[in-house]
């Protein structure tokens, strides 16, 4: 007898599962098909990883992103080749623009057939090249484990984002002795985490001497878990904080120094503070045009300090005077240490006028225009917020008026509680993202604030919710319109409501047909009982709020105008 150790060979499909386990994955969203049958055979025998069968591949990606947003871990999804893969594009682009970590596996035809227009072949590596952080085509089983290891590493480090792995069918069928690499070797990939110390002291000096300083906190603060550091530093330096849509929750909205959201539908006072500050300290935001307006007009008189992990974001849209490439948390920690160690002096007296001015601006609030007996979305949302706040719910939104009203009405005090599609603005994101959230934080109340247009883009996922009992409470703000587009048509196109009146099914009946609960709400006094009933119910619920169709979201800054040109009512 020989002494040779006999190690069991695994198929590519089994290797795939072993790699996921090594990465600590226990939840995966997917949809099977021809070329990945091997993987589904492996799932059949798998106990540690739970696969959730969605009803459309786009939803698998959004659900994985919802999961990633809540946990901070990589979301994982698997789909088949061809149409399965092309159905994921919107989801991948969405995660790319908002910087959330995903590893997306797509099936591919066997290596020998690639390029032949084989059945269900799509060049997914080519298609996703510009909407993913990185992608791989695996043609040889020898590369499989290494590629998966690298993908998880790339997705969840540096500027986070989706990584796509295209798995040729022959790889899944081949066999190999499995060994998971311990380390990654990526010579060309070295994100900068630590900020330059000289820049850090310059930034502190500038902030200490400022008379009218302001902070913008963006999604990068959320990604790097830097809320605590941000809050401590803002208090120490005595600087008010505005957040972008993506940064909501990184600074408690109920804090005295919070300015709330800025931008196109941001608070009047936040936009004014940013427009008039003398030092702007901006952390983890790429200065998207939705928050800057024309970039030449933006924070015209300010010295700008900009922290970002992505060098590409710095001085792209707005030129930074003090650029700091680094991870928000690490840089903010360094700033705190430096501040405490040295004798920086801040003159609070210096800033008294500034804070008085901000208080003055805070009087400029939107006065809701009451047009009808119908429910008004902000009334509904205020009540939802008040009624649910003790649960600290996770709130996923779709895209449109209801999204902006949600951002305004909910006083988010913690990060990772608002899931909304910022960069891509994807209608249909919220509902599947909410499913992902249910699995990420199993005992938490999860709401999906939806529009009647958006919900119809991924409504099929109600079957998924029912099957796995994912108790998403979907609050449909049913205004009969693609409201946000209608709003622009009202103001800019003479009320020509071209193709924005949209019908929908009876959402209560739809819910019931899927085996979920449906509740219709038409009057104010019905709101609270409906919420109570929905929360007490153990499964998914559609709440169909019939609301006034012609409401407008204010504050509103028209696209292309500076952000201090804030419109507060129809009269302007």
């Amino acid at each position: 007898m020989t002494n040779k150790i006999i190690t069991k060979e695994l198929t590519g499909s089994q290797v795939f599962l072993e790699c996921l386990k090594n990465e600590g994955v226990d939840t995966i969203f997917g949809y099977p098909g021809g070329v990945i049958l091997g993987i589904y055979e492996a799932f059949y025998h798998e106990k540690k990883i739970k696969h959730y069968l969605v009803r459309h591949e786009q939803a698998a990606i959004h659900a994985a992103e919802g999961y990633a947003r809540v946990t901070g871990k990589c979301g994982v999804a698997i789909v088949t080749s061809g149409p399965g893969a092309t159905n994921t594009i919107t989801g991948i682009a969405n995660a790319y623009l908002d910087g959330h970590p995903l590893v997306v596996f797509t099936g591919q035809v066997s290596a020998s057939l690639i390029g032949n227009d084989a059945f269900q072949e799509a060049d997914i590596v080519g298609i996703t090249r510009s909407c993913s952080k990185h992608n791989y085509l695996v043609k040889d089983i020898k590369d499989l484990a290494r590629v998966i290891k690298e993908a998880f590493y790339i997705a969840n480090t540096g500027k986070k984002g989706p990584v796509v792995i295209d798995l040729a069918k022959n790889v899944l069928d081949a066999k190999i002795e499995f060994e998971y690499p311990k380390e990654v070797d990526l010579e060309g990939y070295n994100p900068t985490y630590k900020g330059n110390p000289k820049q850090i002291s310059k930034a502190l000096q500038l902030l200490c001497n400022a008379k009218r300083p302001a902070i913008i906190s963006g999604g990068g603060v959320l990604s790097s878990e830097a809320s605590e550091e941000l809050t401590e530093l803002a208090k120490l330096l005595n600087v008010p904080v505005a957040t972008t849509l993506m940064g909501i929750g990184t600074y408690p909205m109920n804090d005295q120094m919070a300015l709330g959201m800025l931008g196109m539908h941001g608070n009047y006072w936040a936009n004014y503070a940013i427009s008039n500050c003398d030092v702007l300290f901006s952390i983890g935001t790429r200065f998207n045009d939705r928050i800057t307006g024309p970039s030449k007009e933006f924070a015209k008189n300010a010295q700008i300090i900009h922290i970002d992990i992505d060098p590409c974001s710095i001085s792209k849209n707005v030129t930074a005077n003090i650029p700091i490439v680094g991870d928000a948390k690490i840089v903010l920690q360094a700033m705190l240490e430096e501040f405490k160690a040295k004798n920086y002096e801040i003159n609070k007296e210096n800033k008294r006028e500034w804070f008085e001015q901000i208080e003055e601006w805070k009087k400029q609030r939107v006065i809701p225009e009451i047009q009808s007996e119908k429910l008004h979305v902000h009334t509904v949302l205020e009540q939802i917020y008040e009624y649910t706040k003790e649960y600290e719910p996770i709130v996923a939104t779709e895209v449109g008026q209801h999204q902006m009203w949600t951002a305004q009405a909910f006083n988010f005090t913690k990060p990772r509680k608002l899931l909304t599609s910022g960069g891509l603005g994807t209608m249909g994101f919220g509902f599947p993202a909410a499913m992902g959230a249910c699995l990420a934080d199993k005992n938490r109340l999860v709401l999906n604030i939806a529009g009647d247009g958006s919900i119809q883009m991924n409504i099929q996922e109600l079957a998924t919710c029912v099957e796995y009992n994912l108790p998403v409470k979907v609050m449909i703000m049913n205004n009969g319109y693609l409201g946000m587009v209608r709003q622009w048509q009202e103001k800019l196109f003479d009320r020509h409501y071209s193709e924005t009146k949209i019908s929908g099914p009876d959402f209560v009946k739809v819910a019931e047909a899927y085996g979920a609960k449906g509740i219709r709400i038409k009057k104010k006094e019905e709101i609270i009982p409906a919420l109570k009933e929905a929360i007490e119910y153990q499964g998914p619920v559609f709440l169909d709020f019939i609301v006034e169709p012609f409401e407008m979201v204010y504050p509103w800054v028209l696209a292309g105008t500076p952000i201090d040109k804030v419109i507060l009512s129809r009269k302007e």
Partner: protein, 159 residues
């Protein structure tokens, strides 16, 4: 303004299209592009020449190139810190003015690599400016075709 960008990149499938995507996605045309392996065949070096490109856009593209996972190093080369040359083959009509043609060839250090009853084929190693004058002088004689390798550049001053 013209930019010559030198990129050291992993020698792997898809690396080239990741790089060129950054230009095409912005609607920019690449003037010339050469790629070949380096001494260590694990890597390749690409020389990308672009014209009519805003400096701010180039700055973005340089950063984006650097961000690509297989990219190891990116340099924006200027005439001050680098030498840029390309290989050019020119087919010239040889029916008339052969004497003139050979004179020009000699003055430019151009080799005649093939002669046929109708055509002289020339080989030049030159920069863009030299090529322009060469073409101007040869044009009256009759240029039939021209094949250019695209520029390769090397950093010469800093090391």
């Amino acid at each position: 303004m013209q930019h010559t960008i030198s990129v050291l990149v992993k020698n792997e499938a898809g690396a080239l299209s990741r790089m060129t995507n950054l230009f095409s996605a912005r609607g920019y045309n690449i003037e010339s592009l050469t790629v070949s392996t380096t001494l260590d065949t694990k890597y390749a070096r690409a020389t990308i020449v672009v014209t009519h490109c805003d400096d701010s856009v180039i700055e973005q593209i340089l950063k984006q190139l650097h961000k690509l996972i297989p990219v190891i190093k990116v340099c924006d080369l200027t005439p001050e810190n680098s030498t840029t040359l390309e290989l050019v083959f020119i087919k010239v009509d040889s029916k008339n003015e052969v004497g003139e043609l050979l004179k020009i060839a000699e003055a430019f250090g151009v080799k005649v690599i093939d002669v046929s009853p109708k055509t002289y084929t020339l080989q030049a190693v030159c920069n863009e400016k030299q090529l322009k004058s060469l073409v101007e002088l040869l044009r009256p004689i009759g240029i039939k075709d021209i094949v250019r390798s695209g520029a390769v550049s090397i950093n010469v001053k800093s090391e």
